[in-house]
């Protein structure tokens, strides 16, 4: 079942190319929904254990996949948000065949990233997910997309290269027979080599987190992507750095992560505050949300780097659910753009006519700035609480960004949706048809997991305990 879940979207993506135009929406939606359904079935069945066969025996590459704990949570969220993205793309984009196909192809890459239990397989899926992201930007982007594309590709490929090197290094120095995670943990790298390899791995993950100062591709990537926000949803899901660090970084480089903890936590806290502060100045909705997402990623990194149990649980919780509300916010911006023809934050008075759109956007913003009772809070609060136990001052610095978050979110919301409507502005329609679902479902998820966190905690908590127990003494 797990293999079906991983590769079904890719099959669907290929199938779309051979499907007549009028059925493409339905086929894509069906495949995405089926993937989500499979994910839920796996969840009900208690997750999927490690499945392992040799892939390239000569190189020691195996095909090992598993979906449990954190990876299952993230895979479910990915399947869910891909479904939402497909739903919106089908409605918004005329002749969406290519876009839908790319979304589904990317979904396979992302699910593979979360399922992979072999470092080289992880790397392969990592690159697989990159191609559709690049293509989406290249095909559907805005006029300055080439700049953004080059930057995105350059950062990511450079990071991947370092990751590949350190992956090979881990196997070579540790003397493991294969690249499978279990074998690598059995044969750890010791001493200074571990630190250097960790730095290489870290560089790749810092690009994908992203973490200051390797974040510059992110705002451009989102700014130049298609107005509908569908590629942005997938781009948000692609921010897998936090997961990679947790699933591979901590078990493989325990001493190095312990050693570098204060520096990395400082970097993460700084990223959180820095991004939130810059977001305050943005006048482009997509850039703004990109920086907001960057700030969240600072929190995720803070949680993972702190090696504190509560903080790490919070980081994974935040990582999973920020996809939901950040993605939905991108789609809300897409709807705004469809109505007023601009993603500028100085429109004014949109809410006088589009009450539901404004209300939903506001609620999603509240989720994003971690108002308690919504999913963002559980993660952010746990991260800060855990980080405070380790480094009080850094937690304080990161905590400052909660104030900045209120400032940037409410300022942009106010100047777009509140205040007076410009004279002679176009009449704005409220939410229609599937748009209700596209924003409503993520919001419902955000509320549910903000109030009742047990289903997600039951998955995340044991996994985090397992990983941190492997570090010893933490």
């Amino acid at each position: 079942m797990i293999h079906l879940m991983i590769f079904l979207p890719l099959l669907g993506s290929l199938l779309l190319l051979a499907t007549p135009k009028r059925w493409r929406d339905e086929v894509a939606g069906f495949v995405a929904a089926l993937t989500l359904g499979l994910g839920l079935l796996i969840w009900r069945g208690g997750g999927a254990e490690v499945f392992r066969v040799d892939w390239i025996p000569a190189l020691g590459v195996t095909y090992s996949v598993a979906l449990d704990g954190v990876s299952l949570t993230l895979a479910l969220v990915t399947a869910f948000m891909s479904f939402i993205a497909v739903l919106y793309a089908a409605r918004r984009i005329s002749n969406p065949g290519t876009m839908l196909s790319l979304v589904l192809a990317m979904e396979t890459g992302l699910l593979g990233i979360f399922a992979a239990r072999d470092l080289l397989l992880f790397y392969v899926f990592f690159e697989t997910a990159l191609l559709p992201a690049l293509l989406m930007l290249a095909i559907y982007g805005k006029p300055n997309r080439m700049r953004a594309l080059v930057k995105f590709a350059a950062y990511t490929l450079f990071g991947s290269l370092l990751m590949l090197l350190s992956i090979i290094g881990v196997k070579a120095y540790g003397g493991s027979p294969t690249f499978a995670l279990a074998d690598l943990i059995q044969n750890p790298v010791k001493g200074a080599a571990q630190t250097w390899l960790y730095l290489g791995f870290l560089a790749a993950m810092a690009v994908k987190l992203p973490l200051w100062p390797l974040h510059a591709w992110l705002p451009d990537f989102h700014e130049q992507n298609h107005d509908s926000g569908v590629p942005d949803v997938m781009g948000t899901l692609y921010k897998v750095g936090g997961y990679g660090l947790f699933q591979f970084g901590l078990p493989l480089f325990p001493d190095a992560s312990e050693q570098l903890r204060p520096i990395l936590m400082g970097l993460a806290a700084f990223t959180a505050l820095y991004a939130a502060w810059i977001a305050f100045r943005q006048t482009d909705w997509k850039r703004l949300i990109a920086y907001a997402g960057l700030s969240h990623m600072g929190f995720v990194a803070l949680g993972v780097f702190s090696l504190n149990e509560t903080a790490t649980i919070g980081a994974m919780y935040l990582l999973a659910f920020q996809n939901v509300y950040t993605g939905a916010l991108f789609l809300a911006v897409g709807m705004l753009q469809e109505r007023v023809g601009s993603v500028h934050t100085r429109v004014g008075g949109v809410m006088t006519q589009a009450g539901a759109l404004g209300g939903m956007t506001l609620a999603l913003w509240f989720a994003s700035i971690a108002v308690p009772g919504l999913a963002g809070f559980v993660g952010e609060f746990s991260v800060l609480l855990g980080a405070y136990q380790v480094q009080p001052w850094l937690a304080f610095i990161a905590g400052l960004s909660t104030i900045a978050a209120a400032a940037y979110a409410l300022t942009a919301f106010q100047t777009t949706f509140w205040q007076g409507r410009p004279l002679g502005a176009v009449r704005v329609a409220d939410l229609r048809h599937t748009e209700w679902l596209v924003l409503g479902l993520p919001l419902a998820v955000a509320v549910f997991f903000g109030v009742y966190s047990a289903p997600a905690l039951n998955l995340i908590q044991p996994a985090v305990r397992g990983v941190l127990a492997g570090l010893g003494g933490q």
Partner: protein, 638 residues
């Protein structure tokens, strides 16, 4: 009846009203909203009557990871005397204000949404006071902040945003910007406080390993923890309380919050939400009892804020702004009381203040309504003739807040001043001075609005309708008689309120000789009467419109401008600078990319695009390889 019903009813009301607004035509939404709050009031009343000395603790489900003692923290509700009292105030006063709003907001196009938000507020406030752990309290804490944000910005585009008249629309746009800014300011300033609250929780978790309030209360007295840690945690919590209750230095959002509809000002920014800070400190009494320095800070923050609010209220011209600064000032009294560990006095003042300040706001609202949204007291006067019932109600409120005997404010303020006298004479002097100022600015408010000749523009203002009168009447009765709940011993009373609250919160009874106590009471009454007489004298001289301190008071001691210059402008500038730098980081890296791409340019020259040139290079290449092999073979053979 389970406790979760209390917040559940208004939450259901909120969900129905926000999701299916079309189901509620006309005033149905208002009645539904009021009914849910009434249902909660009934539950609160039933629980109050069935209360025993052991607090009720009802756990619902697990919520946050690892935040209780060696376990995940659960969401649950906790009912002791303090939270029962708060729940009664919130649902009781809340219900009256809901009923009032049915009439007051009756003509607003967003009538349904208004009641949805009001219900949301009540639910969150109930979660705040019933929470069994600090994080759950924080849910209510930020929830009420969110509700407050939504309601302050209720008229976010101004009230005539779709008007075709150009001037009207321009004014409406300006109003929209002002309302939105006020809402945002309230939220951000609250967030500053919230960060303090969060840090307090983090530190408490570090010290004691749990955030559940009953567990903490059981652990704190026995635990071996450095006093400095407790002091710091208490100071952090104080920052949170300051933000929510509009105390110095985070006070400037509260007067601006008057941009919201008047019932909102009455419920959120006078009676309930802003008192959450007092509640937080009272709830954390087991910590503050161990932290003398932090408690002194609380008391002085309260004392200074009381003074600041009173001075700022002296020369305001907006009928609601006067009351807003008065609220700031009265909240300062409550902080002073809880800072001096006189929790019962503070909470009692909270109770009476909820009555009389809600009453004053609602009667101000009735006046504003009658004068078609006029809020400037200089364009009022003589309203006594037009609105006799409201006038009497407002008069009760003025007498209560001024501390005139038998009215409720007299008893509660007296208790605070007595507590201040025993602990800190300096604070007592401040408190007494503020009492004088309070009586004066409330007298000024009363004379400018109700007495003298009519200066308004509306030809014939009308008395309020029945739906407005009923809540006014009930609140007036409560404001008048509420004080008898806690008659002190020297006046022949039994401290009934202290005894009730004492079952949950320790009451430190101060030992003052009866004679001294009489003297203190006389002084307090003299201050109140003196203030009112002073206002009357000014009124006779017709110089009341320009209060003392002039511009300084009108601009609220220029605190807003100081903040903007000191914090607002620099933060914006830094954001601007960082943005440039961030794009610069970009530029630097792009430069590196260009440089490293340069060798690639050389190779691209080779890609001439001429097929024949490629063929030549293939030929040359083949020749080269063949030549190499030939030479190698020949060399090998030789």
């Amino acid at each position: 009846m389970p406790l979760y019903l209390l917040p559940l009813f208004p939450l259901i009301g909120f969900a129905l009203l926000i999701l299916f607004p079309r189901l509620f035509p006309g005033r149905a939404a208002g009645w539904l909203g009021s009914a849910t709050v009434l249902a909660s009031f009934v539950v609160a009343g039933a629980r109050y009557l069935g209360q025993t000395d052991t607090p009720a603790h009802e756990v619902l489900w697990t919520w946050l990871p690892n935040m209780a003692l060696n376990a995940n923290l659960s969401a649950g509700f906790y009912l002791d005397q303090l939270s029962a009292l708060m729940a009664l105030i919130i649902t009781g006063v809340g219900f009256l204000i809901h009923v009032y709003s049915v009439s007051y907001m009756g003509h607003d196009p967003k009538f349904t949404r208004f009641f949805a938000f009001m219900n949301f507020f009540v639910a969150m406030m109930l979660i705040l006071v019933l929470a069994d752990s600090y994080p759950l309290m924080f849910v209510g804490w930020e929830g009420v902040g969110t509700a407050s944000y939504l309601l302050i910005g209720f008229w976010f585009s101004g009230r005539n945003s779709e008007a075709s008249d150009k001037d009207l629309r321009g004014a409406s746009d300006r109003e929209g910007v002002a309302n939105s800014n006020a809402a945002r300011k309230a939220f951000i300033m609250n967030r500053i406080g919230d960060l303090g609250f969060m840090l307090g929780m983090f530190l408490l978790f570090k010290l004691y390993g749990t955030l559940s309030i009953p567990e903490l209360a059981a652990r704190v007295p026995g635990a071996q923890v450095a006093t400095a840690g407790i002091e710091l945690a208490c100071l952090f919590l104080l920052v949170g309380a300051i933000g929510k209750s509009g105390q110095l230095p985070l006070t400037t959002w509260l007067p601006d919050a008057m941009a919201g509809p008047t019932p909102v000002s009455a419920l959120i920014h006078a009676a309930t939400m802003v008192t959450a800070g007092v509640y937080l400190i009272t709830r954390s009494h087991f910590l503050y009892d161990l932290a003398p320095v932090a408690s002194t800070w609380v008391a002085w923050v309260g004392g200074l804020t009381a003074l600041y609010g009173a001075l700022s209220a002296l020369n305001q011209h907006d009928i609601k702004k006067i009351l807003a600064y008065s609220t700031v000032s009265q909240l300062g009294y409550m902080f002073m009381a809880v800072g001096l560990h006189a929790y019962s006095a503070g909470v009692f003042h909270l109770l009476t203040h909820a009555f009389f300040k809600a009453l004053l706001f609602l009667s101000a609202g009735a006046v504003i309504h009658a004068l078609h949204e006029e809020q400037d007291v200089r364009a009022m006067g003589g309203m006594r003739k037009f609105m006799p019932f409201t006038h009497i109600a407002a008069l009760m409120g003025v007498l209560a807040i001024s501390g005139i005997p038998i009215w409720s404010g007299f008893f509660s303020k007296d208790a605070i001043l007595a507590a201040a006298y025993t602990s800190s004479p300096l604070l007592y002097v401040v408190g007494l001075g503020v009492a004088l100022l309070t009586a004066f600015y409330m007298g000024r408010w009363y004379f400018l609005v109700w007495r003298g000749e009519y200066r308004g523009h509306v030809p014939h203002p009308h008395e309020a309708d029945g739906l407005i009168k009923v809540p006014l009447g009930i609140l007036a009765a409560l404001a008048t008689l509420g004080g008898f709940l806690n008659v002190p011993a020297f006046l022949g009373g039994g401290h009934a309120f202290d005894a009730y609250l004492g079952r949950a919160i320790p009451v430190h009874l101060h030992e003052i000789p009866a004679a001294t106590e009489w003297l203190l009471t006389l002084l307090a009454v003299a201050a109140g009467v003196g203030g009112l007489l002073w206002a009357l004298a000014e009124h006779r001289r017709r110089s009341l419109a320009d209060g003392p301190l002039g511009q300084i008071s009108s601009n609220a001691l220029y605190l807003d401008r100081v903040y903007d210059g000191l914090i607002g402008a620099p933060s914006r500038a830094i954001a601007e600078g960082l943005d440039v730098v961030d794009r610069g980081v970009d530029g630097t890296l792009a430069g590196i990319a260009r440089t490293s791409a340069a060798p690639g340019g050389l190779f691209s020259l080779w890609q001439s695009g001429f097929v024949r040139a490629y063929a030549v290079s293939m030929l040359l290449g083949t020749a080269l390889i063949l030549g190499y092999w030939a030479i190698k073979t020949i060399g090998g053979g030789a």
